[in-house]
């Protein structure tokens, strides 16, 4: 109940009206969303691959996670800001879109799962090998989650 009221309120804000009515606003923000996706996705991919024992093998799992933290954290923040701006262009419409709902649910779950894991691993400097099946499983789950989020995002326009 509160959510839909909040969406209606967002639609009437200055930023909301701008995103809805601007000729180039949506396109420019969407480009930013796509460019952030490139950097963020690549960093997540290389971190998860390292968990699986591929990619930057000369560095430890925690080293890779730590080194790429600016790209993964910075990237997801950029994704969130640009995504929120896109959402502001039609909050009520997106609220009712099942693909968008799925994307958000998956996104919040992925945030907790992926970054909770990343930060723990990055800080636990002693972790040298990725032989643990737990690490590998979490990497697979992470990759599936983020891919699903990406596909759900793509589906928004079709649903």
């Amino acid at each position: 109940m509160f959510l839909i009221v909040f969406c209606h309120w967002l639609a009437k804000t200055h930023l909301g009206i701008f995103m809805r009515d601007s000729t180039y606003g949506f396109a420019v923000v969407e480009m930013g969303h796509l460019l952030s996706l490139a950097v963020f996705g690549g960093a997540v991919l290389m971190v998860d691959l390292r968990f699986l024992g591929y990619g930057f093998k000369s560095q430890s799992v925690s080293q890779v996670a730590q080194e790429l933290l600016p790209l993964t954290v910075g990237g997801v923040i950029a994704m969130f800001i640009s995504g929120f701006l896109l959402f502001l262009g039609g909050p009520v419409r997106y609220y009712h879109n099942p693909a968008f709902r799925l994307k958000l649910i998956l996104f919040f779950f992925a945030l907790i799962f992926h970054f909770g894991l990343q930060i723990v691993v990055a800080r636990r400097g002693a972790l040298r090998s990725s032989s643990s099946w737990r690490l590998k499983l979490s990497a697979v789950v992470s990759l599936i989650l983020w891919s699903a989020i990406g596909l759900a995002g793509r589906a928004i326009g079709y649903v």
Binding site: A27, M31, A43, M46, F56, E67, L68, G150, R154, Y158
Partner: protein, 165 residues
């Protein structure tokens, strides 16, 4: 003697092209793969470019990062190439007139020339600057061009649908 437009129109009229274009399932799926594949190509090469600019993984030698990341970039590129060709086949006749598509193709050639020049020149001497505190100017220039060109390719690619008449 058929010109390029005729060839594109011929491709557009084939059963294969039409099947992809008119399928509510195939075109979105291929396009989804193409969009997500951006992360595999641009995201991975960006890490190498950022290393050349001295912004990530500074403790690792440049050549080691290149050696470890490039196989994945190439794997991603093969996915992008196949999906891109399929999409281009599906929209052959309309893409012919699309300036965003044309610019994207030119940029793709340039983004291929950039690392070619890089590998044939400054990278040949990489063992002299592999762990240097500051990478050579020409290497940094190549990294900047790479990032700029890939960003432009992504923008041009997204504009294709906007420019469609």
């Amino acid at each position: 003697m058929p010109n390029l437009l005729h060839i594109c129109q011929w491709i557009y009229a084939t059963h294969f092209s039409t099947a992809i274009r008119e399928s509510p399932y195939w075109f979105p799926t291929i396009e989804g793969i193409h969009t997500l594949g951006i992360t595999a190509v641009v995201g991975t090469i960006a890490i190498l470019d950022l290393r050349l600019l001295g912004l990530v993984m500074k403790s690792e030698p440049v050549s080691r990062i290149a050696r470890q990341v490039l196989p994945w970039t190439w794997a991603g590129f093969s996915v992008m190439f196949v999906s891109g060709v399929l999409l281009s086949i599906a929209e052959a006749a309309t893409n012919y007139f699309n300036w965003a598509f044309r610019i994207k193709l030119v940029l793709l050639v340039l983004v291929g020339l950039n690392p070619l020049i890089f590998h044939l020149t400054i990278y040949r001497k990489v063992n002299t600057w592999d762990v240097a505190n500051v990478t050579p100017t020409r290497a940094r220039a190549a990294a900047f061009c790479s990032l700029f060109l890939w960003a432009s390719i992504i923008v041009a690619g997204r504009l294709i649908a906007y420019v469609n008449m």
